[in-house]
Amino acid sequence: MNHELQDALVQQLMALADDELILGHRNSEWCGHAPILEEDIAFANIALDEIGHAQVWYGLLADLTGEDREIYPDKLVYWREANAYRCASLVELPKGDWAFTMLRQYLFDLAEKIQLEHLLKSAYKPLAEAAAKMRAEEIYHLRHTSAWVKRLGLGTDESNQRMQNTLDELWSYAWALFEPLKHEPLLVEAGYIPESRVLRQEWLDAAVSYLRESGLKIPDGVKPLDYDREGHTEHLSELLGSMQQVAHLYPNAKW
């Protein structure tokens, strides 16, 4: 693998890992606060799965760059500032109400499922192997969140309204999940990843019909965001402040 291609792959793995980590952290904020006990358990598990997936991606990054996979993930998670993160703004937004949490998770789960199915065919073997591992786990997430989207969308006037408000707000953010990274053509050409626009189209086809079935109206078009994977919302710094606090106070703490 030449230097340029490796660098592109590093950026891609970072984006995959950071999305999972930050969304996993947002989900963990429900632990002890979810509206019912069963969902408290569910979201703690989903958080654990997403953070587990982040760990897998960071592990591949460590292997690719010759770092120690026992140490490197923690270094990336606890010692980077917001501007070095490559997550999408969708996952940075505060957890909001239950409708917001559920719809964001659904939109992300669907995107992730489609992406993993494509990555099964990646010519970069570690990527294909990791995708095969995660895909099965994601089926449980999507099954859960899609059932809730329908339940809330077709529930009471209030639950429908809250879902619709969230969809109107999140639509452009979800769309931006598929903005290609700078070096995407190199990775596509090498057969490592699919084109973002292919993923976006598949996601759109599946999401639009399901959201309509769930009693929701698809917003007209998308508006450009002020943020991308290199320029973040203020919410990310705030999240990192909380997530990195203990590591910064006790840099060599052992769990």
Binding site: E38, I41, A42, A44, N45, I46, L48, D49, E50, I51, G52, H53, Q55, V56, E129, A130, A132, K133, M134, A136, E137, I139, Y140, R143, H144
Partner: protein, 160 residues
């Protein structure tokens, strides 16, 4: 020098930290054992779920058991390929899980999604009058059910 078979024998005693009635070997978590020419032992494991929080404990337990038998040089490798499947849990282990109050995952031959529609029998009374309460549970690999017949909540090992 210690043989691969002897190592497997030792590993049979290492229990799953979350389900201590079954061993990591029976669960299909320990995949491979190699003994290098210099005597170093390499144990390859694969997690059930990638975010499994028990993985560190499993690794430590493997090392402790081998060291107790005088095997000092141990290295644990983790692999994701092929991905772990609940089909690897041995039949004997499935029975032990049932006796422990955990309904085993049905055998699915690679299509686990289909089994999510299956009726799950209560591990306590054996009747099939059960309802799923949560696709998630106390660990990433278990879900929560309720038996309407004997009114007993129970867990099922997730098919994967």
């Amino acid at each position: 020098m210690v043989t691969v078979d002897a190592i497997w024998k030792v590993l049979e005693a290492v229990k799953d930290p979350e389900l201590p009635v079954v061993s990591l070997v029976e669960m299909g978590i320990i995949r491979q054992v190699d003994v290098l020419p210099d005597g170093k032992v390499i144990v390859t494991i694969t997690p059930t779920f990638s975010g499994c929080p028990a993985l560190h404990t499993m690794k430590a337990d493997i090392v402790t058991h081998l060291q107790a038998c005088g095997i000092e040089a141990v290295q644990i490798e983790t692999t994701f390929s092929p991905p772990w499947t609940s089909d690897w849990i041995t039949e004997a282990a499935q029975e032990k899980l049932r006796a422990f109050g955990v309904a085993p995952a049905p055998h699915h031959g690679g299509q686990f999604e289909i089994t999510l529609l299956d009726v799950v029998a209560c591990p306590y009374c054996g009747l099939e009058n059960t309802t799923i309460r949560n696709s998630f549970g106390p660990t990433p690999c278990r879900m929560i059910f309720y038996c309407n017949a004997c009114q007993q909540p129970f867990e099922q090992f997730k098919p994967l």
